[in-house]
């Protein structure tokens, strides 16, 4: 039980560091750590498939993509211009209001039951694969079309226009 609270503390700590780090590269490295704590959360929930997918897709693919983009865009020249202090205060205040609103709405709930794993092989690949390929076969195929179109779109957007260049 205390494992959850320790990992939750680490998640919040690293995600605060993500948005407060001055250097974007440091932000990305903290984001990797945050996603690693999420992977640990998934393992604690016995969602093994999601833990592995989170590890490979998020930490492996997406964050490497971020790092490559950051390296393509040379940010060493000048650092990010700072927003006015009042706007920062207003942003933190707005986000804090959102957190307080959600947290206080939890008070309306009755006593919350603990999260208990009824079926130990709920998040295993075998079980999830059966659900995915029986009930969600059409969305699965559509998502492949989505990924293909995203790939084509990314290539189209990122290549230089030969007429203007």
């Amino acid at each position: 039980m205390s494992t959850f609270y320790f990992i939750a503390f680490l998640s919040i700590f690293f995600s605060i560091l993500v948005i407060s780090a001055k250097n974007p590269v440091h932000s990305i490295l903290y984001l990797i750590l945050t996603f690693f704590t999420f992977t640990v959360h998934y393992i604690l929930l016995n969602a093994q498939f999601l833990a592995i997918v989170n590890f490979i897709v998020y930490m492996g693919a997406i964050l490497v993509l971020f790092l490559y983009t950051l390296m393509l865009i040379n940010l060493n020249k000048e650092s990010e211009p700072v927003k006015p202090f009042m706007i920062k205060i207003a942003g933190v205040f707005g986000g804090g209001i959102l957190a307080v609103a959600i947290a206080s709405s939890l008070k309306l709930l009755a006593k919350s039951n603990p999260v208990v794993l009824q079926n130990p092989n709920l998040g295993l690949v075998k079980n999830l694969g059966k659900v995915l390929f029986n009930e969600f076969l059409l969305p699965f195929e559509v998502s492949s079309v989505l990924l293909l179109s995203a790939m084509v779109g990314a290539v189209l957007l990122a290549t230089k226009d030969p007429k203007t260049a």
């Binding site: 494992t3 959850f4 919040i12 995600s15 993500v18 948005i19 932000s27 990305i28 984001l31 945050t34 996603f35 998934y42 604690l44 929930l45 016995n46 969602a47 498939f49 999601l50 989170n54 897709v57 998020y58 997406i62 993509l65 971020f66 983009t69 865009i73 940010l75 990010e80 927003k83 706007i87 942003g91 933190v92 707005g94 986000g95 804090g96 959102l98 959600i102 947290a103 939890l106 919350s112 039951n113 603990p114 999260v115 208990v116 794993l117 130990p120 709920l122 998040g123 999830l128 659900v131 995915l132 009930e135 969600f136 998502s143 990924l147 995203a150 990314a154 290539v155 957007l157 990122a158």
Partner: protein, 109 residues
């Protein structure tokens, strides 16, 4: 694995909701206070991930695998979104030589 899953037994569902709400709010704050387009994008990823965690927690709570399948679809969507979004950022950088979002206020009224 049995000992690992036993550790979670006493965590109330409310605490998962609270954790996700806090991380989601941190993502919102990141979008509001930063000006670097890539950092804003990373904050959006943070928000997506907090929702993923909450969906998984509810899925385990209800004993229903549908939530975890949904998280899988969200991850596929996030991969597509990141590919297109980063391509757009690269294109913006090529045109304006900056990824400060305040340069991009031409659509503002």
């Amino acid at each position: 694995m049995e000992s690992l899953t036993n550790t979670i037994h006493a965590v109330p569902l409310n605490h998962y909701i609270l954790l996700s709400a806090i991380i989601f709010s941190i993502g919102v704050m990141g979008v509001l206070i930063r000006r670097n387009a890539i950092v804003i994008f990373m904050s959006v990823e943070l928000m997506l991930n907090s929702v993923n965690l909450l969906l998984t927690a509810f899925s385990v709570y209800r004993g229903d695998a549908t939530g975890q399948v949904f998280v899988f679809f969200i991850m596929a969507l996030a991969a597509a979104e990141v590919a297109v979004g980063l391509a757009i950022i690269v294109m913006i950088y090529r045109n304006t030589n900056s990824i400060d979002i305040n340069v991009l206020n031409r659509l503002k009224w």
